[in-house]
Symmetry: C3
Subunit: 487 residues, 3 copies
């Protein structure tokens, strides 16, 4: 029996962490993990800022790198009564918040116990111990020493962003960029030889929801970037197509769409034109705005059949649940909450039109695990265009990822999933997330092996595919006839 307290004196990662503990399954899981542990990282959906990579400067202090921007972390502290101010989360009115990074770090460290049993704990332990060399478990008592270790490490040249791509074994990383992005950072990186490793992702949410504050300005900027002044719905489509091709030329593999609903019902061109014209005049009906968003998902799929960009859809987050917090702190501070999400009727128009089109690849993510076995696996298990993204946002935990495989594999198999997709803005945690995913898949596959539902050679091959082959293939841009674009 392992001695579970053995790790306590120092702070170290156990080589068997997150593997099933029973003595029959663990050695098989370990063997499977060995086959994937050193594979390169394919990180096709993330929110690391392209500018950070292009500028390639040393990261700032420990708190502004690891605490303030991590909304998983912030929301947990807030839930236990730590005010946003104490964590240095900026106010939109510019009011004072804690600005001493060491103080913010101490607050975080003193609440380390809150993360017990959470994936944040797993990731941060990896970041602090494995990446940054912290040697004592975090607590109020060890906060300052850990802070100093981290701060010192972040000043080393080997910890600059591009050096970390090498250190982490990241073969390719995708950023997320608005439809109107100038892509200057990507151009800059390409000039310096990083064009194959850092690629943009086309995210047009800002211009697809006509009821968003600032929509008209975003549309104007889109037109400007596209060189297509947008006075009509037709112009709008043309500007979007132009920009999509600009992203393709900058190396993009995919588009990314965050909608409240998965609805993909198309409108007639007449109706779409009318809603668009009306919105340009500042006259927006909420129902029409919703219908237009759904219609534009349909249009995005149609455009994907032409330019071959993989289409990523992740519906089901009610953004900014607390309007007071939204007013004082803005978006992305931990108040996006999942809601029940329907896929079978919602995706039907898109799948009926393009679900067998060889040029379309649609990757669907969910925050509603109740749809794994009922809706998503049955759909992905029949429509060739559809793949299931990794369990995601609130579900990217050891048990969430295990439940995903248990619920989805029966009907979708492994090949109709994308393998692991990390989805993080926390750059330093990318290896931790891939490591965890490989461990959970190793444990799941090991269980199939020891239950004699799969042979070991099959499990090994599948593990490698989940970690590396599937994400590479799932995110290959396609020709309209389905030929993967060479990259």
């Amino acid at each position: 029996m392992p001695d579970p307290a053995a790790a306590a004196p120092g702070w170290a990662l156990h080589p068997d962490r997150a593997l099933p503990a029973d003595p029959v399954t663990r050695p098989v899981a370990r063997q499977i993990l060995e086959a994937t542990a050193h594979l390169p990282i394919v990180s096709m959906h993330g929110h690391v800022d392209a500018g950070v990579l292009a500028r390639d400067e040393a990261f700032g202090d420990p708190a502004s790198l690891l605490v303030v921007p991590d909304h998983y972390l912030v929301r947990m502290l807030v839930s236990q009564g730590v005010p946003h101010d104490a964590l240095g989360v900026p106010r939109r009115d510019g009011g004072a918040v804690e600005s001493d990074p060491r103080e913010i770090w101490r607050t975080f460290a003193a609440h380390w116990h809150l993360f017990r049993g959470t994936p944040t704990r797993f990731w941060l332990e990896h970041v602090l111990v494995e990446v940054l060399g912290v040697t004592e478990r975090l607590s109020a008592a060890t906060a300052d020493a850990a802070y100093d270790t981290v701060a010192e490490r972040l000043r080393e040249p080997g910890f600059r962003p591009l050096a970390l791509l090498d250190r982490f074994g990241i073969e390719i990383i995708a950023t997320t960029d608005p439809a109107s992005a100038d892509l200057a950072d990507h151009a800059d990186l390409a000039t310096r030889g990083w064009g194959e490793r850092v690629v943009p992702t086309f995210r047009p949410d800002a211009v697809l929801h006509v009821d968003r504050p600032g929509w008209a300005d975003d549309v104007a900027l889109l037109g400007e970037r596209a060189g297509v002044p947008v006075g009509s719905y037709r112009d709008f489509l043309r500007a979007l197509e132009t920009r999509r091709w600009a992203f393709v030329e900058a190396g993009a593999r995919a588009t990314d769409h965050g909608h409240l609903l998965a609805d993909t019902t198309p409108m007639s061109e007449t109706d779409a034109s009318a809603v668009f014209a009306s919105a340009l005049r500042g006259d927006v009906d909420p129902a029409a705005a919703r219908a237009f968003s759904a219609h534009m998902l349909f249009e995005m799929a149609r455009m994907s059949t032409q330019d071959g960009l993989v289409m990523q859809l992740h519906p089901g987050a009610l953004r900014d649940h607390d309007p007071h917090v939204m007013a004082s702190r803005g978006h992305d501070v931990g108040y996006d909450i999942p809601v029940a999400t329907e896929y079978v009727h919602a995706l039907r128009p898109l799948l009926t039109a393009f679900g067998h089109h060889p040029g379309l690849r649609l990757v669907v993510f969910t925050l509603d695990e109740d749809t794994f076995s009922r809706e998503l696996a049955p759909l992905a298990g029949v429509y060739p265009a559809l793949r299931l993204g990794a369990p995601w946002w609130f579900l990217d935990s050891p048990d969430g990822m295990r439940r995903f495989r248990e619920a989805v594999t029966d009907t979708a198999g492994f090949a109709n999933t994308t393998g692991f997709v990390d989805d993080t803005r926390a750059f330093l945690s990318i290896p931790a997330r891939h490591d965890l995913s490989r461990r959970i898949d190793a444990g799941f596959l090991a269980r199939l092996v020891v239950e004699h539902r799969l042979d070991l050679d099959e499990a090994l091959e599948t593990a490698v595919d989940l970690a590396y082959g599937l994400p590479r293939r799932a995110y290959a841009r396609h020709e309209p006839d389905g030929t993967p674009h060479p990259s």
Copy 2:
């Protein structure tokens, strides 16, 4: 530790397959499995064609027996880009599709890896290895040898349908027959002494949904078979009652109802008559059609209290999700997709009227596992007329069946479930499905034993009941006072 790769050289089924692997639980699971492994098979809900049994001819080639009609199998290959044509799935326009069974088999064999982790893999492995004697794992390289082995075996007299009933230890098998079936095959089988082992099931879906294409013709045929010309709603009820009794006389135990919704709200006789009359005139309102379907479920329950047929209800599949595929290939080619299904309000009218009636037995299946613990177990755990069918269609996998027991037993116990019900049109896989179910139940019960939540003698008794006693009792036709009809 077992050597999981040991099976690879030949192709064999491991005696411990699908049992929990931990060294404490497995021996107990093995002991429980021993108590059920050789029990006869009770197969009360299936889609094997009565004509196949009555004609008792050799099955055709391997592809048309095992590949083309298996929509679990076809849908997985389609999802990975194999066209329906290549699998020989017929076109409704008679257009050419692959017709060489060996070619179809090769396509299937080359994609064997897609089924990793799926129940199809588990069932087919059993069929190929245990039933048909294939000795090398399926792949492109072994496709032809496997084809020849299977083809040869299928020509042996011992592999004709009725001989297989004996070989498989099938004590009784129910077919599914439309309300207007002439039941000639069953009469023929009865003459030859098979009447107790092969029984029909009354499935009136075609005439209960007034908006189905061809409804009026089906109603006319129903009337003809019943000897009751149907000109009114009253005639319709009388024709249904007459046919139900004809099924009873032919040995039927049960009715079977596939509806989109579980709604059982009755209409007044006046309203029902009006909808019916209007539909006969070809004038159908969708909402009225839905209401009439719900009403007819209520009527079916009422009739069951009189003739004692067990009523099976399985709502929640959106049929033919892709209308293009439906137009070109017809129904049942893998495009039926589960939707969220509500039971608590939907079944309330039926249960309020007949839920304590000693003559009714209602068996409910679901494709929506989210309702296991929330709705179905609480309902079945109080209404004496209600039993939960086995996890079913997309849920009849090792993990699906385990989740069913884990979610349902707390509140419904074992006795309010029917035990295993296989629901397949793949005749050769019937033993595999019962074998898998017995293994999962053995594993679940073993866990209760080793967690000291159940004594071993209780587990053994329960396992036998789940495999044999419960399905026999659940599908016994009842007198109106609740006395099981002797069979």
Copy 3:
């Protein structure tokens, strides 16, 4: 390997019951359980009658203590065809039902096998073996001997209610009392020194649903008890506030709210006044009644920010599913059925207004486990006022409690849950329920330890917190500034 049949000769509780069986995890689980097994019981939500404690008389016969009032037990027997009459469940018309407690007990004992795999089995085994000293497994054959043992035990002075508080190690127990309760029993208990151990809970359901039969009478009684004649909505609020303070003075820690929906949308005072006035005149519109109930939840939260009572909400039970049973037997006989419950939109008004208020503590329970990971954990993981209650009613089973921790911990951690809350009217089963919860938490924490996701010292500390610290803190009344009220 344990010999699972070893317990059969006598009837004894295995020390490792409900712990994970694998040989790596079990010893760690045992070690964690040792840290909590002897902690006092904090029972903050229950339905034990204060009068039973105040009178402190010997309990009646075994059947009227353990069988007739236990709706978990009654519903299972009814589901398998045992009539309510045979179980002595009273008829509202006073008609004859079985009145011989020994006969009722025999019926129960003969059906003991129905409870296999259910939490009722686990609890009753604990009650019969551990608390009451029964030595042979229950069955038709052992029914009389068990009856005699139990009956004799119940006559002993050490088995009177207040003595059992000591025997069970119950540090504090909360009763549930209508808003109009005179609290005389609590006053009596306080006089005798039990005021700190037996506290009331304010449950105003009867007066918050204006469409309940008898609502006006209940409102009149509320006004009478409050000394505030209720002629208007304003009076109504004042009467409620007055009564809440009376409960506070009697030691109450919490309020308790059972609503069909979780909706907390407030109305304007004008609208609320109009609905109230209309209802007083006997004119009630169902939609207005629902809106008023939702509004009153908002008001209850507002009042909690003033008087510091912890607010408990448990929506999602459709009461009295069968109206015939309701008419003949009344409420609470096993026909309350869970329905799908929405929290994200429903709680938004309350959380937006008071979710960051230091004086509010809102504890939410659910009967819909599909919301654990999707809605409840994300909400509790960010709003400081919100805590998740224990898995509850249909979910308080070994597997239900395990699924709760697995689904909730990722996003809410441990600290945003209340620890265990037993919710029972079966007084003798309180220790069994806490024992089971501690075992399941020990098993869950042990898995985290052996998977190296948590250190053992952290697991031990967390286990103690879940069993004792969290419920004490979660149910501490707060000052409006958030200071816990000393108790």
